[in-house]
Amino acid sequence: MKQILIAGAVASTALVATVGAASAQACNDADRVPITWSTIAGFYTDAMAKLVSGFEAKNCVKVNVVNIDNSQLYNKQVIEMVGQTGAYDVVTLETSEKAEFAENGFILPMTDYFADKKAQLDDVAPTLAALTTQYKGDVWGLPYYTYTAGYIYRADLFDDPTEQAAFKAKYGYDLAVPTTWAQHRDIAEFFTRKKGDKLKGEELTKDFYGVGLMAGPFPEIQDEMSGVLWSQGADWLTDDGKVPVDAVEKAMDDYLKLVKFAPPAALTVTYDGVMNQMKDGQIAQTYSFFLDQWPNAVTTEQSVPGARMGVAEAPEKKAYIGGFLLAVSASSTHPKEAMDFVAYIGGHDAQMEFAKAGGTSTLMSVLSDPQFATPESRAKTGHFATLLKIFDDMKGFRSNLFDTPFGAKIYNTMQIPLQAAAAGQITARQAAEQLASDVEKICGGPCPIGK
């Protein structure tokens, strides 16, 4: 009986596949429904092109991919949405942009679309789904890529007996992956050394630093500070829609204590600069850092002799949760096809392909797939297990920054006072107060929060 059932299932699958293939083959290029996807240039562009081809093979749709530089993506998408030009059917949103696009009617809710696809929706890591897809009780799309933060470090340094002994002698506890931000600071201080000093018993030919920071004039400075702020039990915005000045000042103070243990270039770089520092053998660890960079970080093992990379949860088990949300433009002339595309790219099959190409999937079924936990796939997916732990530890977490319709504007502004403080131009207190003032100006008073 069981064999009959299996045979039946196989036959049905084959039939469905044949019909699907036939329908795709029957579709002439002229008949294809055109949809346009605006997305980030350089983020797995090749892998995305392959996924798009997969979608086109199964649907009578032609997907035009518009690759836009990350710094310009938000501006361009807003302009097209306000003008209701229909230029983009599917848009790519940063976590802080979701509420603004939803609140202003720029994107369509997909709650009804997913009503009969609950299993697919439930497969998205719940923590990520809560922050990236939900707003005011509706579902606004699917995240297809996560840049959730964790901790990346030089495991070879942590395992070195000489370094372990020296650390224990200086700080009175064992050198290990930090579980508190105070330990993280100690480690940063410990590994900061001058040219000529010894590291792992060998003389350094250049200065070595305890931590890599993304303190340049980019939004990433607030991403790496988010985990620290959240681990204090605070948020960028209180439930009253105001910036908690004292909490931000404390997080900023902690950050400033680390700046002296980071390469001077920290004040001009973002994540790619930190990765270059790691691969150049300049730093021992990151701060709260995007784990999607793991495939990049692990190449340090080739560029620095004797290096071995490790990945773990950020101290205090709180880190920035972020993902690129795919949503359907309200001015799309083909919303049904656009929603099908979102469901496909955020779906299991495409996400499996994406993960194989080195992308960081958003689905629990992919992150926990045994094939990505093997030693052979460590270079591409060695961070998946850590991501699962982060999502589990942060279950139920929400940030008001992602639930205010002014989130994107705040996100695009907050880097200025934070970076000014990191560079020493103003104090931590002044940065927190300036942020509070800027945010109040942006929202025209306390910011509305719409969960």
Partner: protein, 314 residues
């Protein structure tokens, strides 16, 4: 010659194919119409629109143009500390960059003018920074300035000199932008000054030499007074261009660290295209245009007067 002189003026101005019924006045209007249409569509209409927006509430993300708010936007912008800070940055940049460019450019022009060989090659090399956009050369300079991998710090290190954080240290970041601008635009000043020098008549200088005038006296009483119109024009052009500073900031520092290098135009861009407050951005643009118009009128008045005097003499 005598034949051409005898042709009536009306015939020399009017093409043979032109309708005999069209007056000179209408023909002139016809000739300038295309240019006027272009100016109307691409300059005056946007300006009128910006003026309109500057008197309304216009948060682009909250929909289209909002209600009329009178002078509220002007009041807010003029009370905005960040705006005045960006004005300060712009003025600091403009004065520093233009002074350096003028001094270095004129000095280089004199050196080239006095050179006996290789003038052509030097002139060609000097065109290179001008021939590339600031966005491209800015990227190139960003790598030169890089504290980790940059060539400038590499050479400073070889000489055991301090290796500054060119774009990350808030005390020197603006000077790094000035240095970049000086590198790019000094050749422009030098080339124009050189052309002016080479066009000077030889006779007054020969007479001064016969009279035994010192080099300084020749420079003070002959060279600079005769070069003045050219140098003044370059000064005005460079000042206007420097006040519009955007590309170099966008590529090199993005206004940072903090707001240390945030120029007026960069702040305007951030307000308009990051915060989408088109009302404030338009108000700043109107203010910027007004300031530039007034400054240009004052600066160009002597030149315009000189041109009109020459025209009337001609």
């Amino acid at each position: 010659m005598s034949q051409s002189m005898s042709i009536p003026a009306s015939q020399t101005r009017r093409p043979a194919t032109m309708s005999a019924g069209m007056s000179d006045r209408w023909f002139s209007i016809l000739l300038i119409t295309p240019a006027m249409v272009v100016i109307l569509v691409f300059a005056l209409l946007p300006l009128a629109y910006a003026l309109d927006v500057s008197f309304r509430f216009a948060d682009l993300t909250r929909g289209r143009l909002g209600d009329f708010v009178g002078l509220d936007n002007y009041r807010i912008v003029l009370a905005d500390e960040a705006f005045w800070k960006s004005v300060g940055v712009t003025l600091q940049f403009t004065v520093s960059a233009v002074v350096l460019e003028m001094v270095l450019g004129i000095a280089i022009a004199f050196l080239i003018n006095g050179a006996t060989a290789g003038k052509g090659i030097i002139r060609s090399l000097m065109v290179l920074p001008l021939a590339t956009s600031a966005a491209v050369t800015g990227l190139f300079w960003r790598y030169l300035y890089d504290t980790q991998f940059g060539l400038i710090n590499y050479f400073l290190g070889l000489l055991h000199l301090p290796q500054p954080n060119w774009l990350g240290d808030y005390t020197i970041a603006l000077w790094s932008v000035v240095l970049f601008d000086v590198w790019q635009w000094t050749p422009f000043v030098a080339l124009i000054a050189l052309a002016g020098l080479q066009a000077l008549p030889k006779e007054p200088f020969e007479a001064a030499e016969l009279d035994g005038a010192s080099t300084f006296r020749v420079l003070r009483t002959l060279t600079f007074p005769m070069l003045k119109p050219v140098l003044f024009l370059v000064l005005v052009l460079r000042t206007i261009d420097s006040v519009r500073l955007y590309d170099a900031v966008a590529v090199l520092t993005r206004g940072g660290p903090g707001t240390t290098t945030e120029s007026m135009t960069f702040y305007l861009y951030r307000t308009g295209l990051k915060l989408f407050r088109m009302d404030y951005a338009s108000t700043m643009a109107v203010f910027f245009l007004y300031a530039m118009l007034v400054a240009s009128l004052f600066a160009l008045a002597p030149l315009l007067k000189q041109f009109s005097t020459r025209a009337s003499e001609g």
